[in-house]
């Protein structure tokens, strides 16, 4: 299939993270043009493109930008642009490639966004485990500063944009935008109550835009080719291309950029190399560990876009972290493993999530080990329902949705385990 590789186009070029190489590949070519544009025109292009946030929620990026109050209503407060590089959703490993292989594309995207947002300070909040990437970002940052592409008076335009790399301590919850802000501020990484929303009152109580790495890295292409060219890719409600990270029982796990909307089976077979020989498909988690799991029948009718996955499978495209599980997978063990993660990562703020995630994990351990009864499955389902959307942030739902969907769509596996008590200890 022929389509522009907007995000991964430079990844195969050796030393693509070096400024000279990046420039030879066209990175920073759009910055002078964007700096000469009116800020609102940049936002308008992003709006018109239909670009949706690539962190998982899929919120329209241009609309998010337009929530920042105009200068006269900001009471002299600065605007902050935060790049969410706390990629930590199990199954998701796309942003690290953007950061590792094409940091300058992100810098250019952030510099252009800063112009649109009348913002002069930005942070790349990167997860603690990515320290090696942070070091590369710092080196790239130094190169960009030395070339006058960041910092004060960028390329003589009069626009200032200082960019900093901030390394988190390695917490899943810090990928939630308000927890990211708390952590950046030096507080414990816990989500904040909304309202107020970050675009109005975020970091240091100032208007703040938090965008995913992939989202910001698309912006230069939008400036160069325009909104219409972007909309020509993908589907009506899911325009453009997107990075998908595939893991699990496929022959070629990895990160692939594709135009949104291609059939899911086509993606699995053509890009990810299909299933391992002799295996059959059992389940797919399409968008990072927290979205509802899909059955093979659902996979067969879904395409890789926001609306199809939601309508046909009640799941979400999410971050694009696809986990493929074949018939050798013990789904009870898989879910138990997921809940171990959520029980460990719950920030501990809201009652249902704090107490419930650990509780669900305990029950699942017993189910896995053949020490639970059918009553426990009922309790498990209740707990998930009682956590979902009863908390400050989306973490509660993220932990509940796998439980709800596994129990509903693969109920027989769980029933089998509780009916044959004592059998099947992992």
């Amino acid at each position: 299939m022929d389509f522009p590789r907007i995000l991964s186009g430079n990844w195969d070029t050796p030393d693509s993270h070096r400024l000279a190489v990046a420039k030879s590949r066209g990175v920073y070519s759009q910055l002078p043009r964007a700096l000469a544009m009116a800020p609102n025109d940049i936002t308008q292009i992003v709006k018109d493109s239909g670009l949706r946030g690539r962190g998982g929620a899929g919120f329209p990026t241009g609309m998010k930008w337009s929530f920042v109050p105009p200068a006269e209503k900001r009471q002299g407060k600065s605007v902050y642009l935060l790049c969410n590089a706390d990629e930590s959703e199990p199954g998701t490993f796309k942003d690290r490639y953007c950061l590792w292989l094409d940091p300058h594309l992100l810098f250019e995207g952030m510099a252009i966004a800063s112009r649109a947002l009348d913002c002069h300070v930005g942070y790349i909040y990167i997860r603690g485990e990515f320290r090696y990437i942070a070091r590369r970002l710092e080196e790239a940052l130094a190169e960009a500063y030395a070339a006058g592409l960041l910092g004060k008076n960028i390329l003589g335009s009069g626009h200032d944009f200082d960019l900093y790399v901030h390394v988190g301590a390695g917490a899943y919850i810090c990928g939630e935008e308000t927890a990211l802000i708390s952590s950046l501020e030096g507080e414990k990484g816990q989500p904040k109550l909304k309202p107020p929303f970050p675009a109005v009152e975020g970091a240091w109580r100032s208007p703040t835009i938090v965008n995913n790495v992939e989202t910001l890295a698309v912006v230069p292409w939008l400036i160069q080719h325009g909104a219409a060219a972007y909309k020509a890719l993908g589907t009506e409600k899911s325009p453009g291309t997107k990075l998908f990270s595939v893991s699990g029982h496929v022959r070629r796990p990895g990160v692939y950029e594709i135009p949104l909307g291609i059939p899911m089976m086509q993606f699995i077979n053509e890009y990810a190399g299909g299933l391992l020989p002799g295996r059959t498909l059992k389940a797919v988690i399409p968008g990072g560990s927290s979205v509802p799991v899909m059955t093979p029948a659902e996979v067969a009718i879904c395409s890789m876009d926001y609306e199809s996955i939601n309508t046909n499978a009640g799941s979400y495209l999410g971050s694009g972290g696809m986990i493929v599980m074949d018939d050798t997978t013990d789904l009870v063990a898989a879910l138990t493993n997921l809940l171990r993660f959520y029980a460990h990562e719950s920030c501990g703020q809201c009652t249902p999530c704090r107490e419930g995630c650990g509780w669900m994990h305990q029950i699942l351990c017993r189910v896995r080990d053949g020490e639970a009864s059918e009553v426990d499955l009922g309790t498990l389902r209740d707990l998930a329902d009682n956590i979902h959307s009863k908390t400050i942030c989306f973490f509660g739902a993220s932990a509940a949705m796998p439980v709800q969907s596994f129990l509903t769509k693969f109920r027989s596996e769980f029933l089998d385990r509780v009916q044959r008590r004592g059998v099947g200890a992992a």
């Binding site: 917490a171 414990k188 109550l193 309202p195 029980a343 460990h344 990562e345 719950s346 920030c347 501990g348 703020q349 809201c350 009652t351 249902p352 704090r354 107490e355 419930g356 995630c357 650990g358 509780w359 305990q362 029950i363 017993r366 309790t379 209740d382 009682n386 959307s389 009863k390 908390t391 400050i392």
Partner: protein, 524 residues
């Protein structure tokens, strides 16, 4: 003011009113743990979830983060809301230890109360509970039991926002989250007792009250703290004549929801060994010391007796003293010793603890201004007196040299003045009588009788009534209601105040005629 609806009851409240408070005004109680009217909104307990109308239909939202705006309508008793409360209770209790039989919070515990109101399920918790640190001594007055904690973060916010000490923190994550202090640190402020008060469960308990009494045996009486001139509103908790603890009572104009630790200790002196229990004359107990005092006042002759108003004594007692003098002792001189801090370690701050440790300095100033001709400490020192009648204040240490040949002392506790006095008349402590005090803001506040006076003590205004009677004309001050009514009729700045209408929170004095006459300090 916007109109909001709570369970279809329409009420008008100021814009921005917290919906938990708005519901209260509509007579609807919304259960909550983390919300506190004098702390920031945390929104973490999830107990106050209600259904709020929205363009997309009813939405479950936390009431504590909703502010009243025109047309807002919430429902607090729908099936969905009830189910959420029940589930929140289940989550809160799944790792909660069964400490109730040995927990001091029992009887005033939100976990217990809300379980009865909103929980009531059969436990599904069969897995081991998460263990946490118990019985941690974290300060002079506070013990922390992390296992009992519901992580509502009220205490964390108190340290961050009220005392500014930032001492307590939520450590760890998930169901291992627990409240704790940084290693090697202790609570170092004078407001520790409030932590036990705001803790909705038994995680933070007050050392002085631990294992002293089950709270359901205690009766509560509204009072005011007499530890300093701030006059924090309090609840005195007592059983069968014994006071077990003093708690702050909410008054947004004076002390919000707080009080200091020294203030809480005031009640501990009620029955202390230093209490004056029986009247004595020249060291020997007598049946009626007021008669002896009357005889000595007469014997001293006109103009040879001085009377000192008491800034620790109630408004009624000071009024009684002035009336006794006016009716019976022509030519007698009246004094006041302002800013008297005898015998106390002066602790003060810019919050609730005032350097002036007398609860009624402003009340004495008010009556002295009205009566006129009241001398100060300097005048007292120079006066040639045979007898000095002192009302409650310990003045001796403030006077260089002996101002009088003999002293008669009306007081609650022994002190240098009492030791020097030839006549001692024991009077009731603030928790033992109905009385009013004027705080540093010029606010008239009522204390109510919680217990009977110790020994043979009676309220000072009644002792002075007896003195007046013995001298010939009783001032008519035995009943505080009538006494206050007489003051309100006579003293211009008290005009219009009614004893009953003082209510729980008191009323401000009318402004002084000359500006800046009474220094007013604002409560933080």
């Amino acid at each position: 003011m916007p109109k909001v609806k709570v369970n279809d009851i329409e009420i008008e409240v100021p814009a921005g009113t917290n919906m938990i408070e708005a519901a209260k005004l509509a007579g609807v109680e919304i259960p909550h743990y983390c919300y506190h009217p004098h702390l920031s909104i945390a929104g973490n307990c999830r107990m106050c979830m209600c259904e709020a109308d929205s363009p997309r239909g009813p939405m479950l939202e936390i009431a504590c983060n909703m502010q009243a705006r025109e047309g807002l309508s919430i429902k607090t008793e729908t099936d969905k809301v009830k189910a959420v409360r029940k589930s929140v209770m289940e989550f809160l209790l799944v790792n909660h230890p069964l400490d109730c039989p040995i927990c001091d919070q029992s009887g005033e515990c939100r976990l217990q109360d809300y379980y009865m109101d909103h929980g009531q399920y059969d436990s599904r918790g069969v897995d081991p509970k998460v263990g946490k640190h118990k019985r941690q001594d974290i300060g002079e007055h506070i013990v922390l039991d992390a296992e009992r904690c519901v992580e509502c973060s009220r205490c964390v916010r108190f340290g961050d926002e009220v005392t500014g000490t930032g001492d307590l923190r939520l450590m760890n994550r998930g169901d291992h989250t627990e409240i704790g202090m940084f290693p090697g640190t202790r609570l170092e402020h004078n407001y520790q007792g409030n932590l036990a008060d705001i803790c909705p469960v038994g995680a933070l308990t007050n050392k002085e009250f631990r294992f002293q009494r089950r709270v359901w045996y205690l009766r509560e009486t509204d009072s005011v703290c007499t530890g300093c001139s701030t006059g924090c509103n309090t609840k005195v908790c007592h059983q069968e004549g014994e006071v077990f603890r003093t708690l702050p009572r909410r008054n947004d104009d004076v002390n919000k929801s707080w009080m200091c630790d020294p203030g809480r200790e005031v009640n501990s002196v009620v029955g202390s060994l230093t209490r004056l229990l029986r009247p004595t004359v020249d060291g020997a107990p007598v049946a009626d010391a007021t008669a002896v005092l009357a005889a000595r006042i007469k014997a001293a002759g006109p103009g040879r007796t001085g009377f000192v108003l008491g800034s620790s004594a109630s408004l009624e007692a000071n009024w009684a003293l002035l009336q006794v003098v006016k009716a019976n002792c022509v030519g007698a001189r009246v004094f006041r010793v302002a800013g008297n801090n005898a015998g106390s370690i002066v602790k003060s701050d810019d919050f609730l603890m005032d350097a002036d440790k007398n609860p009624n300095t402003a009340g004495v100033a008010l009556l002295a201004d009205w009566a006129g001709n009241v001398g100060d400490a300097e005048a007292l020192r120079e006066a040639d007196l045979a007898l000095l009648v002192v009302l409650e204040d310990d003045i001796v240490s403030r006077l260089s040299g002996n101002p009088a040949e003999a002293i008669a002392y009306f007081g609650t506790h022994t002190n240098p003045t009492a030791e020097l006095a030839s006549i001692v008349i024991p009077v009731a402590h603030v928790v033992e009588m109905d009385a009013t005090y004027v705080n540093r803001q010029g606010r008239v506040q009522r204390a109510r009788r919680a217990t009977n006076p110790q020994g043979e003590a009676i309220p000072a205004y009644q002792a002075l009534e007896k003195l007046g009677a013995a001298l010939g004309r009783a001032p008519g001050t035995s009943m505080p209601t009538a006494t206050f009514a007489a003051m309100a009729r006579t003293v211009p700045r008290l005009n219009g105040l009614d004893y009953k209408a003082l209510g729980a929170g008191g009323r401000p004095l009318a402004p002084a005629p000359e500006p800046a006459a009474a220094p007013a300090a604002e409560a933080k």
